[in-house]
Amino acid sequence: MPVLWRRIAIFFIGLLPLIYLFFKATNNLLGGDPAKAIVLFLGNWAFYFLLFTLAVTPLKRLAAQGWLMPHRRMLGLFTLFYALLHMLAYFVFILGLDFSSFASELVKRPYILLTIPAMILLLALGVTSTQGMMRRLGKKWMSLHKSIYLIALLAWLHVLLQVRSSYEDALVFGILTAALLGVRIYWRIRKFTGG
């Protein structure tokens, strides 16, 4: 399949979770507490897309699946897209657009506070994701975009700090994040030791 067609396909696949959520919301299928359901769903999908994005390079190097490489940017942009929707849903459905309470929430809850640097970095990566920006930033582009590792760690902490009745989600996200970051650490060590 030509790259353009794949790009179009991935674009529409990326929108499917949102369409699914919209279908559930308009058909009253989100249960008794749709506010919470929507925020959780969007947050989960932001994390899934973050993991898809991080999986592209290992898939290329370990499984010879290089065809995903040209689509990494779109996967990253979908991470940003769902993270922004997640945050927007939190403002509208949990805080009821009461921004004065947001300030106090931010100060008091570390799991909310750490989303601020994560969101700023995600936005920075999104804004600098174009070809033009890549050219303009040169070598700096690579070091800036390495901050996705930090974003992944912050996202995982955001989940871990909210554990209540079960470690399941924190464990699954944790293992996947650790594997995708761990393989890079392994490559880095091997490069330095010349192995």
Partner: protein, 336 residues
Amino acid sequence: MLIIKPDAIPSSEITPESIYLARRQFMRSAFAAGVLGAGTLASPALLADPSYKAAEASSSGPEWLNRQIATASADKQKLSETLTPYGIVTGHNNFYEFGYDKTDPANKSKHFKPHPWKVEIAGEVAKPGIYHLEDLLQGQALEERVYRLRCVEAWSMVIPWIGFPLASLIKRFEPNSKAKYVSFVTLEDQQQFPAQKSALSTIDWPYREGLRMDEAMHPLTILAVGLYGKTLPNQNGAPLRLVVPWKYGFKNIKSIVKIEFTERQPQTSWNQIAPGEYGFFANVNPSVDHPRWSQAKERRLPSGLLSPNIIPSKMFNGYADQVASLYSGMDLKKYY
């Protein structure tokens, strides 16, 4: 001779046909149950509520309990807030023995068997023993109680329970002077409660809760056996659960198999998991945050997309005039 001719009947005196028909329907079913005269559950207008019909349609439960529930008297405290629909009351639950999602209790409780059921009464009482549910309920006058339920997760409902004051049960077992607290234990059974097998759960099964004696004896504290005029669905804690309306929902322990009277404050499940987040008292208090979220407001379910229905939470969940005296002189920031 003064002849007073009545004016036209004021419209306030005219019973709408729907209520009139619902009343007839109610009388018929009450008669069928053989409890005509005794049964005065919920006002006829309430019985016309589709939620009562939904409860009627999906109710099971043994005949003896259905008969007793049909005799329940109507709520004396009129709560003007809108009842949470039956589908949400029975479809959005925290009952971690069945799973972590809000829909797990409804989906995974089909094979739970609440009958026959036994409850162990233990500790500082004159009459300890293992009692059948029938014996515990014998002679208890059931009542409908429409209560707010405020979950510690900042959502809330309004539920018409059927139950009886815990005090009237406690008195029967004659607790002695050492009985300062009452502790409750939920059933532990991995066959019936699939999530009790999970290695990732933070809860050390079985689930435990407790009350101070004066809280347990308070007239607002009830043991519920039904809701919306029918037996409790499995996901709501069948066959017997605690309801303490001025405390966060997790105090309302479900599917109780043991009630023990103790001299010392009992260990309770959420307090054991995170003592900094869930106190023993767990009174609804909008001015004391959960460390991870504010308790100032709540989402009254059903919370819609266009209207999230966010309302301010009230001290003691709006029951302050009845229960605040229990805690006079206590620092509620310290004893949260």
